[in-house]
């Protein structure tokens, strides 16, 4: 279970303090799939980064499974079972797909297992396992590899920041299956997905709308989604299934 208690986050720009998140409190129970939506610049990605520890809140507490993790590093949070898929996947020089999957899983894994992770994100494993994670890969390929590393990590809380962005050639349905499998494969796991896609919201338990740095709406999908349909926070997928 993840709890955010009175989380605020400020940045200074041009000698002015800007409040990105204002006194946000919420709870995400185990076994829940929560979609976070809301206008761009509203604080969604910042919230995700605060959960992973990439950013530290100006005030407030982050509690994970009863432990105060506010002061813990990214590494310590990863070890406690928090995973993170970046909106903009990071590129390396010389590090291969197989290396990243091995690091993610925390142990030596067979090529067959590494290939399974790639296949589940729609990549032909044999073509990718030895590729370097660099600019030679397209944005969509990098994005899927990013998701594969989170699958290999097998965290009890996985955070995905706009996972559908850039996945142009891949069936949207497959992405949805990835989240569903992740749910069934890891006991008591919970998933947070930042997305504007109604099709992803359709598989969620709860929906959280963040607007102007505050919780605008938060509740069960059945209650929240009807209020969002037709707005730009819940767009119909225009990606064709292949």
């Amino acid at each position: 279970m993840l709890e955010l208690k009175n989380i605020s986050f400020e940045v200074s720009a041009d000698s002015e303090n800007r409040e990105i998140l204002k006194n946000v409190s919420l709870r995400i129970d185990d076994r829940k799939l929560v979609v976070i939506t809301g206008p761009n610049g509203g604080g969604k990605s910042t919230l995700a980064k605060l959960i992973m520890g990439i950013e530290k809140p100006t005030s407030g507490k982050v509690i994970f499974n009863g432990t105060d993790i506010t002061e813990l590093s990214v590494t310590e949070r990863a070890k406690l079972g928090i995973g993170f898929a970046f909106q903009q996947p990071v590129k390396f020089k010389g590090i291969r797909v197989s290396d990243l999957l091995r690091i993610a899983s925390g142990k030596k894994i067979s090529t067959a297992i590494a290939c399974d992770y790639l296949s589940s994100v729609g990549l032909c494993a044999a073509d990718y396992i030895d590729r370097e994670i660099n600019s030679s890969l397209s944005g969509g390929e990098l994005k899927r590899i990013e998701i594969a590393t989170v699958l290999a990590r097998g965290s009890s809380l996985s955070v995905f920041d706009e996972p559908e962005a850039g996945i142009d050639l891949w069936s949207f349905q497959n992405l949805i299956e990835v989240f569903q499998n992740l749910r069934t494969n890891i006991q008591n796991s919970s998933i947070i997905i930042i997305s504007h896609q109604e099709r992803i919201m359709n598989i969620s338990d709860d929906i959280l709308v963040i607007k102007d740095g505050s919780v605008d709406l938060y509740g069960p999908r059945e209650e929240i989604l009807p209020q969002l349909t037709g707005t730009r926070y819940a767009v119909k997928g225009c990606i064709k299934s292949l």
């Binding site: 990439i54 990214v74 990071v90 390396f92 010389g94 290396d99 690091i103 925390g106 590393t149 990590r153």
Partner: protein, 308 residues
Amino acid sequence: MAKLDDIQRRLLLEVADLHEIPEGAYNIRSNSESAGRRSTENIEIISKTDVSGLEVRIKPGTKNESVHIPVVMTRSGLKEVVYNDFFIGEDSDVLIVAGCGIDNCGNQDSEHDGIHRFYVGRGAHVRYVEKHYGSGEGKGKRILNPGTEVYMEENSSMEMEMVQIKGVVDTERVTKAELGEGAKLVVRERLMTHGDQRAVSRYDVSLNGRGSSADVVSRSVAKDDSFQKFDAKILGNTECYGHTECDSIIMDRGRILAVPGLEANSVDASLVHEAAIGKIAGEQIIKLMTLGLSEQEAEEQIINGFLR
């Protein structure tokens, strides 16, 4: 390899990946003496008579054969200059593995200066691997100054892999190449310096023949207080293509100087230089930390990949 002790064997493993006596032709030089040599039907290794060093003669048409000529030094205070010449026959295709490992646990400097000259015959292809490694806790420096000269005939090709990852205190590497018509040279250099080490790598490549090309790429990491200089000069004297690249990571108080040198002496020469120096990108470290690595482990993985 009965003449070698454990330290010498370890050095041999580091510089030539050799656990046992290699296949094919070889000469193992240990503390300025030959610790074993074998010539084959197509590859002859003979000692020079005027200076210290070897002549390696590879018959035309020799395919898929290899020559290993590793050097190990474990005696403190030893200084040597060795001249090795390679004559690579036309249309042959061979692997040459050189390299030097120095273990200096004494207080006197140890130095090995290997001067290698390659005469690559028409249509021949050579893959050359050279690794340098130093170890030992003594105050004596471990110094390596390799000199490489490459003379390439028509349509020959050479891939050079130069690696110096650990323990060499001072190195000054000079590589000169002259390429004939259609000749192709590819250099991949990987270098890591730490402590107060200093490494200078200089290239002087002349593209003399029409259609010749050179691609010289250095990837390096400078840690602690170390200093590196990458000085790559390509001369395009005719219709040709030349590319040099220096891609470096600096850490701690490390310093790197990249000096691009392109000289086009013909309107048909096409020459490119790229250089990028910077610290490890913070986002790379954070990505690996989200996968459970500590900051230090993340840095190690990034550097290992970078220097692979």
